[in-house]
């Protein structure tokens, strides 16, 4: 019980290190501020908690200011996953993608599901399901004019619920996609073999993880090309 109370307290009381990080950033000590945010992020990860979009945004933005493109793209993609409509996140993510050393032919296009805000989609689906339940109940229990009204409202609500359910499913599918970011300059190879010759890719390049084998991951890059990359040189977007 005490641990639950403590956890609740910790969750509600602002972490003083956040204020420190903000002060450091305000004084231009961006590296120190980044280290502070990173410590908080690592602690959250170790405790199994998920870091917020804002924390990922700050980490990504600070990495961007240091031209550390791998972490910048990874954190900003993670932030965009949590808050796809946030203008600041979208702007800094676009800036980071533009600044990468590798300019792939196809511009990065978010899947439709990835652009749907998870909170509102979930809420709308819940509300529509609830409304559907109420209408079904009213149609069965009420009589006369009220029952007719409930029956007429049932069809549009049912259609809206189906659409919301589809959106929810698409959003879930987008969340399930495993995207990895190249963190270190490395070779992209045609085979999962260190001897296979390839071409050099640079931090910040992203791709969908298609397969894993012998310490390599097979990435489908943004331009559709499949390559094998050393697993240690990539990191999956949380």
């Amino acid at each position: 019980m005490n641990s639950v109370v403590l956890a609740l307290l910790l969750a509600t009381v602002a972490d003083p290190r956040l204020k420190d990080a903000e002060r450091l950033a305000a004084h231009g000590e961006l590296d120190a501020a980044r280290a502070q945010y990173q410590t908080i992020h690592d602690e959250l990860a170790n405790s199994g908690a998920d870091a917020s979009a804002a924390l990922h945004y700050n980490l990504g933005t600070l990495a961007l200011s240091a031209d550390d493109m791998g972490p910048a793209v990874r954190h900003l993609l993670a932030a965009a996953r949590r808050a796809p409509l946030d203008d600041d996140i979208r702007h800094n993510l676009a800036t980071a993608l533009t600044r990468r050393a590798d300019h792939v032919e196809a511009a990065r296009q978010d899947a439709f599901g990835a652009r749907l805000p998870p909170g509102p989609v979930t809420l709308v689906l819940g509300i529509l399901l609830g409304l559907l339940g109420l209408l079904l109940a009213a149609r069965g229990v009420l009589s006369g004019r009220l029952a007719v009204v409930a029956g007429r409202g049932l069809v549009p609500v049912l259609v809206a619920t189906v659409v919301a359910g589809l959106a929810f499913a698409v959003r879930l599918a987008a969340d399930g996609a495993v995207v990895a970011v190249v963190m270190l300059e490395t070779e992209a190879r045609p085979q999962p073999d260190k001897g296979a010759g390839g071409f050099t890719i640079h931090p910040g390049l992203t791709g969908h993880v298609v397969a894993e084998q012998d310490g390599f991951v097979r990435l489908r890059l943004e331009n559709g090309v499949d390559v094998w990359v050393d697993h240690a040189h990539t990191s999956v977007v949380p």
Binding site: A14, A25, A49, L134, L135
Partner: protein, 612 residues
């Protein structure tokens, strides 16, 4: 209906008005301008032409006609885009600037023209006027008088590791001298040049140093060397968007590939004569199918620079680092505060020169406020080979008492090397009105830190844990839907049952049960009698109402009630008739009980066979 139509009309008119406003804004914010780095050039020289298109908003222009450049050779062309954001009337406005840069070479002597450029967006057309370029020089001849014919061709065919014998010539290659001039007619096939834009400059004045490799055969890989770092100079690599890229140039009638390898701005720190180290580099010409390439080491001549002292006497407010041309601005935000509530004094300098070293004027305070250490932001915006930028210094000021704080004019004295004189920049005095109140707690609140490079600032006061919002909503909604469906189904079933024959009979049975309770309470024999007859008529036919006692027993028994039950019913009716007219209440109560007991029996019959 009328009200909804009115609302629709209002919405329609508002959206139309907004649409027109947007379109008017888009149309009024199309701009096109064209600038050339020089309007008089020598034949064979290169110059830069910028075509800048500004669009308010993110619409693409419908049409863009670039200028006619047929009078010039286009050596290089690149595009860039920059967006700037501002808040106008509480809304975010975006201005996108598309810049197309051409590096042109004047090939023929005479008066040439860069043609008109036009752009069209919607109904608006923007035009950039043509630019006239005067090309001077001798027609048809590009070579110049050799500076030192003694210099040999050693660099051109030297094997790997050999050093071209060029250093001894000590010729100065500046803008006024053609490349390779020190070799005279014996121009090697490959040589290095170190060019400076001026050989004499004031302390703190920019000197641009460019290292180039001239070669008649293309190189196998682009040569890389570190920039100039001469002692006694501040050295900055130029970052004006011009990327090192090979071009072709005619020198003494021969075609050379020119590889710019370094491009630096240096600023002298003290007066004196300084000799820049020559550019020395080993380059690899690309081989061919028939011959293998051999590395060649080339070396430029040394360059001597004369750094002149600044004119004396310098004004009292002059700081030695402030050499260049600047514009000084200052502002306070907000101008009305309460005691303890901070305001920000922003001092901004925009200009060219060694912006990394500029020292901005500071306000020392007047004792009525607390000054926090200023934060300084320096942004480089090099243009056309000139180090330029913007420096913003923000000082947080926390007033300690009510009244007015007057910030005296800030003065910055700068030596302008182009004009060769000291220039004083001064801001207007600024006043902040401080009212009574307590807001000290906000004095140390951090502000959003601006991140360089076009990125948006950090988020402040954040929650570090991600909470999946409304994650239970679909489950709750789903449960409600299931419950609702179940309740609805149940309701429909009950209604269907109620509407059926059996349901109606049950309903009447329940009504009779209620009436029976009332009849028993009021000892109403007639009512109890009527209820029993109703029940019998419903189940066994209406004719039972009119039957006498003997006939009734036969009828009921014949229609399935059962003989004993039928006899019991008849006996109860006879007893009730007797009790109705008898004196005393006890017999009536007994009769009512009997009648209702028979009623209960009749209503409890499950099937038509009359089993009770």
């Amino acid at each position: 209906m009328g009200a909804s139509r009115l609302v629709m009309l209002l919405l329609l008119s508002t959206s139309l008005a907004l649409g027109f406003a947007q379109s008017a804004r888009a149309e009024s914010a199309l701009g096109l301008r064209m600038t050339a780095s020089a309007t008089t050039v020598k034949r064979g020289d290169t110059f830069q032409l910028d075509v800048v298109l500004s669009v308010n908003g993110q619409d693409a222009v419908d049409e863009l006609d670039l200028p006619d450049l047929s009078d010039f050779a286009v050596l290089r062309e690149n595009e860039s885009q920059q967006a700037s954001f501002s808040m106008i009337g509480g809304r975010r406005a975006i201005v996108v600037e598309h810049r197309r840069t051409f590096i042109l070479r004047a090939t023929d002597v005479g008066t040439k023209q860069v043609g008109e450029a036009t752009a069209r967006l919607g109904g608006t057309t923007a035009r950039a006027a043509p630019i006239t370029i005067r090309v001077v020089g001798t027609p048809g001849k590009t070579s110049t008088t050799p500076a030192d014919p003694a210099a040999g061709d050693a660099g051109a065919s030297a094997p790997s590791g050999a050093v071209a014998d060029e250093a001894a010539t000590a010729a100065t290659a500046t803008d006024g001298t053609q490349p390779g001039a020190r070799f005279g007619d014996a121009l090697p096939r490959m040589f290095a040049e170190l060019r400076v834009d001026k050989t004499s400059a004031f302390v703190g004045e920019q000197i641009t140093v460019v290292g180039e490799i001239y070669t008649q055969v293309p190189l196998g890989q682009y040569p890389r060397v570190p920039g100039q770092k001469p002692a006694g100079f501040v050295c900055l690599a130029l970052d004006d968007g011009l990327k090192p890229q090979a071009s072709q140039r005619i020198v003494q009638g021969r075609s050379f590939y020119v590889y710019p390898v370094t491009r630096d701005a240096i600023f002298g720190l003290k007066p004196g004569s300084v000799e820049l180290d020559p550019l020395e580099i080993e380059v690899s010409p690309s081989g061919s199918f028939f011959s293998r390439s051999q590395d060649v080491r080339v070396r430029s001549a040394t360059v001597t620079i004369e750094v002149k002292p600044l004119p004396e006497p310098a004004p009292p407010d002059f700081r030695a680092d402030n050499v260049g041309r600047v514009e000084l601005r200052a502002a306070v935000r907000p101008t009305v505060v309460k005691v303890g509530e901070p305001f920000t004094l922003v001092v901004e300098v925009v200009g060219w020169g060694n912006t990394e070293g500029f020292i901005l004027p500071q306000w020392a305070g007047d004792g009525s406020a607390r000054l926090f250490p200023p934060t300084t932001r320096r942004e480089r915006r090099d243009r056309d080979g000139i180090i330029a930028g913007r420096i913003v210094e923000e000082t947080l000021v926390q007033p300690a008492k009510a009244g007015r704080i007057t910030i005296a004019p800030l003065v910055m004295v700068v030596f302008d090397p182009a004009e060769g004189r000291y220039v004083t920049q001064q801001t207007a005095p600024m006043t902040v009105v401080v009212g009574e109140g307590q807001a000290a707690a906000t004095a140390t609140a951090p502000r959003r830190q601006i991140i360089a490079g076009g990125a948006r600032p950090l988020a402040l006061g954040i929650d570090v844990r991600h909470v999946a919002a409304f994650s239970l909503a679909p489950f709750v909604g789903g449960a409600l839907a299931i419950i609702g469906a179940a309740v609805g189904a149940l309701g429909r079933r009950r209604r269907a049952l109620r509407d059926s024959v059996a349901g109606q009979r049950d309903a009447r049975r329940r009504e009779r049960a209620v009436s029976a309770t009332k009849a028993r309470a009021s000892v109403n024999v007639a009512a109890a009698h009527r209820l029993l007859l109703d029940a019998l008529a419903e189940r066994y036919g209406d004719d039972v109402r009119a039957a006498d006692s003997q006939t009734l027993a036969t009828l009921l028994a014949g229609r399935g009630l059962g003989t004993s039950a039928a006899d019991g019913v008849v006996a109860a009716i006879i007893a009730a008739d007797a009790a109705r007219f008898a004196p005393g209440g006890a017999a009536k109560a007994q009769a009512v009980d009997n009648l209702l007991a028979r009623l209960h029996d009749v209503d409890s019959v499950d099937s038509v066979d009359g089993v009770v």
